[in-house]
Structures are given as structure tokens and as C-alpha cells.
Symmetry: C2
Amino acid sequence: MNPLLAAMELGGTKTVVAIGDAEGKVLEEFRYPTTTPEETLGIACAWWRQRGDIDRLGIASFGPIRLDPRAVDYATMLQTPKLAWQGFSFATYFAQHWPSVRFCLDTDVQAALWAEMQRGAARHASEAFYLTIGTGIGAGLACHGRLVQGNLHPEMGHLMVRRHPDDPFAGTCPYHKDCWEGLASGPAIEKRWGQPGHLLPADHPAWDMQAFYLAQGLWAASTMFSPQVMILGGGVSQAHGLREKVVQQLDRMNSRYLESLDHRVKLPALQQNAGIIGALLLASQLAEKA
Amino acid sequence: MNPLLAAMELGGTKTVVAIGDAEGKVLEEFRYPTTTPEETLGIACAWWRQRGDIDRLGIASFGPIRLDPRAVDYATMLQTPKLAWQGFSFATYFAQHWPSVRFCLDTDVQAALWAEMQRGAARHASEAFYLTIGTGIGAGLACHGRLVQGNLHPEMGHLMVRRHPDDPFAGTCPYHKDCWEGLASGPAIEKRWGQPGHLLPADHPAWDMQAFYLAQGLWAASTMFSPQVMILGGGVSQAHGLREKVVQQLDRMNSRYLESLDHRVKLPALQQNAGIIGALLLASQLAEKA
């Protein structure tokens, strides 16, 4: 029998915990609201322990978070608007509450990319990019077939983009106002148009503007590291026809400089399950105990 | 005695050929104007052959060029304004004219980055970025300690940037007009201000505008893959005080969201020799013949 692995997708508002196998197959999962670190992790640990003998755990977390294993504050939540989580250390928590477990950690969007690379829309890509639009804009990035963390991890939501000529909206980013995330995240759409994205019809001008902004990020990724696959993830990206509008904008921006990027822009194959599947696949990379 | 390696830095206007060792030490070099492929390569091969028994060659070339070894048109020059080079295949050339040599190939800016990572300003960086401003804007990029080619190779000169509020200049890019390269390359500076960059004094407003544009590219790289080191290479970047202006703009753009990027922005340690040193270091990665 395959050894059981534990996985957690920790979001700003909800948490998913699961058990599964090394191929990323979820055997059982449980969803509940994210509250304080102690309560949220406490519920998770109790749930996992009831499910069997587990010694490996993969975590896909919101950020920013220190991912460099050489850093003294490895696995610590950095400056985040979710104040209860600021400074929270997964390493310290597990050392105190579950010392026998080995865990690995990445951002939610990096885990989602990893799942799509192993089992979804980015199979066989060595360079790949995953974009998620929700309460913010997050990006995951792989080069040479491996996730990239760099000094921190991609923070591409704060890319500076060109403003759409018909867009007077000031932007929502508390740091940069009208950076990418400030103009094109879920809350930005809602504040600009007075309604959340899922209530706006497919022919609403919001979607042309959204495509204009999303295409700029994909264009930046293309010029920077030329990924074979770029995945439009997150709730907002699934709006009807948005992928096609993004590709049109991207082709216009490209202006025949590069080959058309159409076939590289993909919707996720694993939908909303990519994060938790990715967390399982990350856990499976931890060596089995002898 | 160490086996002799050959290197070539093929630029749009001049070519450098060299022999050296596996540590990137140049023992002898020769510079001459780039003309047609047959003439330029012919001079190089004759020069190398006079210098001893050589069986490995590293090439740092202008682009765009097909770098994926799995592609049928590997090592072929793609669409370039230098029409004599369009479609030229290094693979075919060496198969015909020097079948015993093994060569490896990368762009000039990737080779320069590689040299700086091995011997210069980006030692010990696993994620690094090299920017060169000259007749165009080129970028080299490494992740996990290895150069990144992606589907083609970085073409970051064509990033879309925000226009400086005081800049009415239309831009010089034949594809995109006012992309990054269209606004901030050497020819763009010369056309906007009526004089080439090296004639503009250090207190000329051109440099604040240039720093504004350069900082946007470094910011894009930072948000995208968070490199530990970003090198300002190429002639234009060496203007007095420009690095400091770029860092100021970068800190302003950052707006305290990330830690200051000051210590990550570096001038090249190998100056104008990085390309040919990088080509030697690339050649040294080819396995020695048994």
C-alpha cells in the first residue's frame, strides 16, 4: 500500500486539508474557514491524525512567505494584511505540535503550477507560467522544469502596467495604487464597475479592459523567459470568452514580432483542485523514511 | 597542459574571436568587422586553426537565434534586420567546414551573464538577470543557477513600459514603437535628444528619463522571479551616476513593498569582456573527448 501523504491549501479566507497519494490523488478532503494560525493549524493536525499514520505534509499557502530553506526565518509569514498571520512560523509550529512530521512549503499559486506541470495543462513544459486572479494577482513560474522562488517568490501582481486609455480608475493596491493587481484583481473589477466579475455579462466592456491588462502580464512573461505554457487560473479567468480576448490583445501587442502566442495560453486542466493536488505532489518529493 | 578552447562573440557590427582555457582566461584574441556569415566565420576558423589543436568552441551571438537543441532548425538565425544572416545555420556551416569541432551556442547577453555568474558580479546567485543597453535592449536570465532559454530566449527589450510623463518621443521599435527598447535603447536616446548618450552630460535630463525606463525593466524582473543579482551591462548603463538614479526610481516604484533592491543592482565586474569569457566558459562545458 502507498504511504499516505497530507496536504494543506491555506487561503486567505478558506483552508483545504486533504490526504492522498504520491501521484497527487486526493483520497479525502475537508474545507473550513481560515481563522487564526493556531486554530487553523490545530483543526488541520487533528483531522490528519485521525486519518492514519502520516509523516509527510505539503503546504500550499498564501503569502508573502519565506521559502528559502537557508534563511533563518524559513517558513515564516512576512508582512501581510492578515495581521494574525504576520510572523507566524510553520517551522516553529510543527516543531512544537507535530515534531515527527516533515513538511514542505510553497505558495498556493506555485503549487497549482506544479500540479498542472505534473498532471495538467503544462505537462512537458520546462518553462511555464501560472497566473491567478482573485483577491489579488498571483503568479507561479517554473524554469528548467522546476519551480522558481528567487530571493522571495514571484510577486508579479505588482508589475507596473500601462493604463487602458478608457480607464480612469485609481487602482486598489495599498502600495502602488495602479499596479497590475491594483487595476485587474477581483476587488479592482468590483470597485471599478460596481459589481463583482461573476455578475458582469460576457459582453460587458469590463472584459475587454480586463483582457488588456491580463495580456500585459503574459506579454511580460513571454519577453522575459519565453514559457511554452501560460495558464490563466483563478476564478476571474474562467469568465466566458476571456481567454480568447486575452489572446487577441496579446497578438495585437506582439505585432508579429514573435510567433503567435495563442497556443501557449491555456486554461487550467485541474480547475480549482490544482492547489491541493500540488501540495500532495510537493509532499511526495520529500524522501520516504527508511 | 590544459586543452585549448575557442570562443566567438558575434555582434551585429564587430566580431571577437579568442582562444583560452576552461576557467575563462583569454590567452589571445582578435577583433574584426562582422560582414557576411561565410566571410566572418571563414576568418574565425582560419584564425583558430592557426592557433593549435582545438576541438571545442563556444559562440555568443546576436539573435534571434534558435537555441533549443531539439529543434530541427537548431543554431539557425531567425528573422533579423541583418538580412545576410537570416536563415544562416551554424550547424550546417560547421558540418561542412569544420566537422571535427563541437560547438555550443547562446546569445551574447546570456553568455555575458554566465561569465558574471562564474567569475564576476553575480557569483553565488542562483537567480540572476543581466541587462544590456546598446543598439537594442537585451536581457539574460538564469534560474536555479542555469541560463534560461524558454521557447526562444529572453526578448525583454520588447516589454511594454509606462511612458515617462515628460516624454513625447514616439519610440524607435519597428514592431511596437514605444516598447522598452523603442524608448530606452541607444538609438532611442540619440533620436530623442539629438545626440548619442556618450555626448550627454551627467546632469542632462536624459538620464533621469533613462533611469525611469530602466527601473521598470528591473522591477518587472524583480516581481517576476526575484533575482538576487541584476546587472546593468552594455555601454549606455555605464554613464556616470546612472546606477544610482536607477536604484532611486526602483525604490520609488517599490514603495516599500519589497525590501530595498539597492544591493541587488550591480554594475558588471567583467566590463566589455563578459561575452567572450562567457563563450569560453560555455565551451568548457562541452565534455572533453576521451
